[in-house]
Subunit: 344 residues, 2 copies
Amino acid sequence: MSDTIPPRRPLTLRDVSEASGVSEMTVSRVLRNRGDVSASTRQKVLNAARDLGYVPNKIAGALASSRVNLVAVIIPSLSNMVFPEVLAGVAEALEGTDLQPVVGVTSYRPEKEEKVLYEMLSWRPSGVIVAGIEHSETARQMLRAADIPVVEIMDVDGEPVDAVVGISHRKAGRRMAEAILKQGFEQIGFLGTQMPLDHRARKRFEGFTETLAKAGLEVIDQEFYSGGSALLKGREMTQAMLDRSPDIDFLYYSNDLIGAGGLLYCMEQGYDIPGRLGLAGFNGVELLQGLPRQLATMDTERKQIGREAAGIVAARAGGAVGGGERVELEPKISIGDTLRRYKP
Amino acid sequence: MSDTIPPRRPLTLRDVSEASGVSEMTVSRVLRNRGDVSASTRQKVLNAARDLGYVPNKIAGALASSRVNLVAVIIPSLSNMVFPEVLAGVAEALEGTDLQPVVGVTSYRPEKEEKVLYEMLSWRPSGVIVAGIEHSETARQMLRAADIPVVEIMDVDGEPVDAVVGISHRKAGRRMAEAILKQGFEQIGFLGTQMPLDHRARKRFEGFTETLAKAGLEVIDQEFYSGGSALLKGREMTQAMLDRSPDIDFLYYSNDLIGAGGLLYCMEQGYDIPGRLGLAGFNGVELLQGLPRQLATMDTERKQIGREAAGIVAARAGGAVGGGERVELEPKISIGDTLRRYKP
DNA sequence: TTGAAAGCGCTAACAA
DNA sequence: TTGTTAGCGCTTTCAA
């Protein structure tokens, strides 16, 4: 234990070099575990670095080596648990590597996405993971020009810049519609978020209505919300819709939280579920497991998406050749207690 | 529109300089809006940069200027909504500045905290916002040596390295105990998370039991969980506890999610709430608003904490003198429908 | 196994 | 208003 005076100027390799009597170059080697260094020299350097409390300057290191161990992860929001879950998957997959995720938030705004992307690319990350497959031409141009692995996640319906990991939301919408029709529901209401820029919700809705149309049906009522507590909004929208369209026999929610709110409301109102009224949400959030009844939903495996995406970046950062990888996960319907009228 | 060939090598200032016929230095000035540049030169540079698709290299810029517009935000988890909420507050407060949050996750592990901190400090950020006030001596040493604004958040009970923004969890525990006692509850059970390293939960519990002790009472049963769906766990733990200790008349949960699970369970079981059985959670999560009954809780204003912390970092990064700021927010009891037996 | 020199791409400081 | 020079702190490369 040495009683060093706290430094005014950040410590540099040179300080460690002087304190240990070893050249800067060799100090650098020790600190990075590169090249052959004798055990004794090594120990001297390590001791000096520890005693001084030296923290390497990655900025200088990155500039000199043009290697940056950062992976940019760009998501629309942190308030929707879906994205922190993806992040958790990314973080998990990167755990064993020397890569570090760096998060940027776009608030679902294309212009902000451009800004965040520009900002992150200016740090020359080893890869980019970005939510969604819809981007401005400027953004796509930046991604292409960056010449690093780019993984677009969540959605596979479209033309990716490079790699893509996600589900087909159009297909998810179709599958749910099929499941609902199969149970004989015909008076279907849709409840979603007021978000013109949520392309995934839009695609699900398109897939959903498309399948209904094939059966000669259409959504008979719709309701959208924005802001506020999703659970509460689900409740309120459900009440409004059932009051307005009492014939409805199925409620399809664009996310599980509003679905859960709706379910709680319908149970309180004493609806026979799913005999008189069926419900389904979307995402498969953990929360549903604690509800009095299991809301039907579709699991989108967000964590797995994060893992796969990070895996692609890590592999290529590690030197593997690649490009244009495509991983389409199959969304799994979870029947729960709110969809099956006919026992199989 | 020029049809440029995609670059093999990342573009540099020099490329823009050559393309525009303006010196590198002046290009740099234009791109950073520094110093006086004639409108015509400015335009030439901007055009060239746009046409080439130039993205500045912040690594080189940071090295040359020793200015890094990154703020490290270190949190234990992304799976607990509390922390994304803090992050959202940080992001919001940083929106107007040129600072950017960078997130690191510690998984509640001190050794990982050290690692993440080391990693982030090696990028020489403009400030650090870190959850909690308990850190290893190594971590504290690094924070002190970094010689940048450090804001410890969430918890004010302890000795901060520098600035601190949060609530007193000990006080929060005491306040809730007082509120419960005031309503005449005496057979109190506690349900929490199995997390020896969650210092804030521990402090709340200490404050809570301390106040009970003054009234000659103690918690008559306890139950802890780890992992899994909090809502579901709340349900299960509540059932277990009520089966085991049927005399219990109050359940104090260490977070709102398990509290919500418990509330749903108790309602299903037909308990008279809060006549026969009272409940309270902690945090004031938005979700509660959608429940059939409002769980009593204590709002911890996570977003505000994030905002305040980011504000301190931004102010000091902007040149304001400071150090040792202390912002203690007062947790607000939300009585809800599960705590008040005696009408006021 | 170790060291010396050169330079990564930018910006501070100064000169013109 | 614009340009020149000299680094920022590290790593690459090459020599010893």
